[in-house]
Amino acid sequence: MSEIRVEALTHTYSAGTPFEKTAIENIDLTIPSAQFVGVLGHTGSGKSTFIQHLNALLKPSSGTVYVDGEDINKDKKTRRAVKNKVGLVFQYPEYQLFEETVFADIAFGPKNMGLSKEEIEQRVREAADFVGVEEELFQRSPLELSGGQKRRIAIAGVIAMRPGVLILDEPTAGLDPAGCRQIMDNICRYRRESGATVLIVSHNMDDAARLTERLIVFNRGRVAMDGTPEQIFSQPEKLVEIGLSVPQSTRLAMALRARGVPLEGAVYTHGQLMAALKGVGLC
């Protein structure tokens, strides 16, 4: 729903002290409306710094960020307004829950937007439905729920603001496989039904390959690779050099090819692997 454009974005932490560190340097990117983007890169590559610029939490040291064509750092008002447009879910978001009830916690964002009581209630119900939190839980304390439930409530707290861009920093970190799948399904459903642009920071190459339309790979504060999953995963050597892995299917296909099995086409999902194996009569 919203388009993001980043021009010559640079950010330096603790400028002018011995701890000075340039986290991102000269980033130029355009993310069109409704695109599903995966952001990859290992720890310290600058991806977390990058996403915090997209809703004006961090001020660029230099460069400009546009959301829907407007410079979000123009003044105090735009810096505040962009937070309603670009929703950011941090890593381990369950640690930010604070209200006495699940309902109140999900309502925190909409309340800050100054919406009416009825509107807030409707949005809370809608957001809870997106992440599969039942109404029975509304009056419970969020602190006594399980890790996966807490995480989904925290995500609902951002979804309740109906952001046009939803950014999630490793939303599945530390969850069991069932929890991971559920959260990814929730996100996909929100994207489908709201038409939002979604950016997802992930270490899980299989998710990245399966779900996204475009991958942006960060390395040492710069964009090292940018393209469709097919383009990115067809250069596994480069990914490995950066210190990232490739999807399991790609790894298997590479190993088979190395042993002389002539697999056709790009392989980065299970479905493609099956098709390629069928193509050579191995399946």
Binding site: G16, L57, G87, Y95, L97, F98, F108
Partner: protein, 265 residues
């Protein structure tokens, strides 16, 4: 924003001052503080300024970092200066003015004293890691164990508190960002409103502090920590010749200042 707090921060380095035994530096600081209050005349004060500047130069601490640390104390410095300036009896600077020559002199000396005091303390914390600092204190205070003061436990708590300050600052920063992303506003509104706005930060911070304390206790117990009794150290503190020289210098300085005071300089 929160990352810019420099209070009690350690700047790693490899200068003579960094290498001094922490006990030397703590004792040196105590002598330095006594010396500041012994320096009453202008010659004595000038000597203190030169010495402080010398220490800063030797330990590669930039004046800018000292100024940054002084900023939070600015109110106290200005207040003390003004108080002494206006409330000292003597000859007025101009007839009828409330400011006296004596007041101006006393005010200048007071300000200098406070600035030197803070600078000296910063020189210690800037050049000594928290671990070394608490180790040094532990050893210096160890005679108190004879009268059943739990010295080790106190210094252990101190080093843990110091260790977790950056962690908590980082955590606060993270929670603040997360709540800001949900539209929380910490800067505008009435005092009451702003106090209320702190709730979304304080609750998660408390929850995570308790969790951290719990995890730390389990981790320490599973490594058989049982207090100070019979505990040995990986890094033994050892006095080197340079420590002797440094202490000697500090004692001489103090003696010199006391002598200067006798002559009214």
């Amino acid at each position: 924003m929160l990352k810019d707090i420099t209070l009690g921060q350690y700047f790693p380095g490899d200068t003579v001052v960094h290498r001094l035994d922490p006990r030397t530096k703590i004792l040196g600081l105590i002598l330095y503080i006594v010396a500041i209050f012994e320096a009453s005349g202008w010659v004595g004060n000038a000597l203190m300024i030169v010495l402080t500047a010398l220490c800063m130069a030797v330990s590669h601490i930039k004046p800018r970092n000292i100024f940054k640390g002084l900023k939070p104390m600015l109110f106290i410095i200005v207040f003390t200066g003004a108080l002494n300036l206006f409330y000292t009896d003597g000859t007025p600077v101009l007839p009828g003015w409330p400011i006296t020559w004596e007041g101006a002199e006393r005010s200048a000396k007071m300000i200098l004293r406070i600035v030197l005091l803070i600078t000296g303390t910063f020189l210690l914390t800037y050049t000594t890691s928290p671990m070394e600092l608490t180790d040094g204190l532990d050893r210096l205070l160890s005679p108190l164990r004879k009268i059943h003061v739990p010295v080790h436990e106190i210094t252990m708590m101190m080093s843990m508190a110091l260790r977790f300050i950056p962690t908590l600052i980082e955590e606060t920063d993270k929670i603040m960002s997360a709540q800001k992303a949900r539209g929380a506003d910490f800067e505008n509104g009435s005092l009451l409103k702003r106090a209320k706005a702190l709730l979304p930060i304080l609750v998660p911070l408390f929850v995570s502090s308790f969790r951290r304390a719990d995890e730390l206790a389990v981790a320490m117990e599973s490594r058989c920590y049982h207090g100070g009794e019979g505990r040995t150290r990986m890094k033994q503190l050892r006095f080197a010749p340079r420590d002797l020289w440094a202490l000697l210098l500090a004692v001489l300085l103090l003696a010199g200042l006391i002598a200067l005071k006798k002559f009214g300089l």
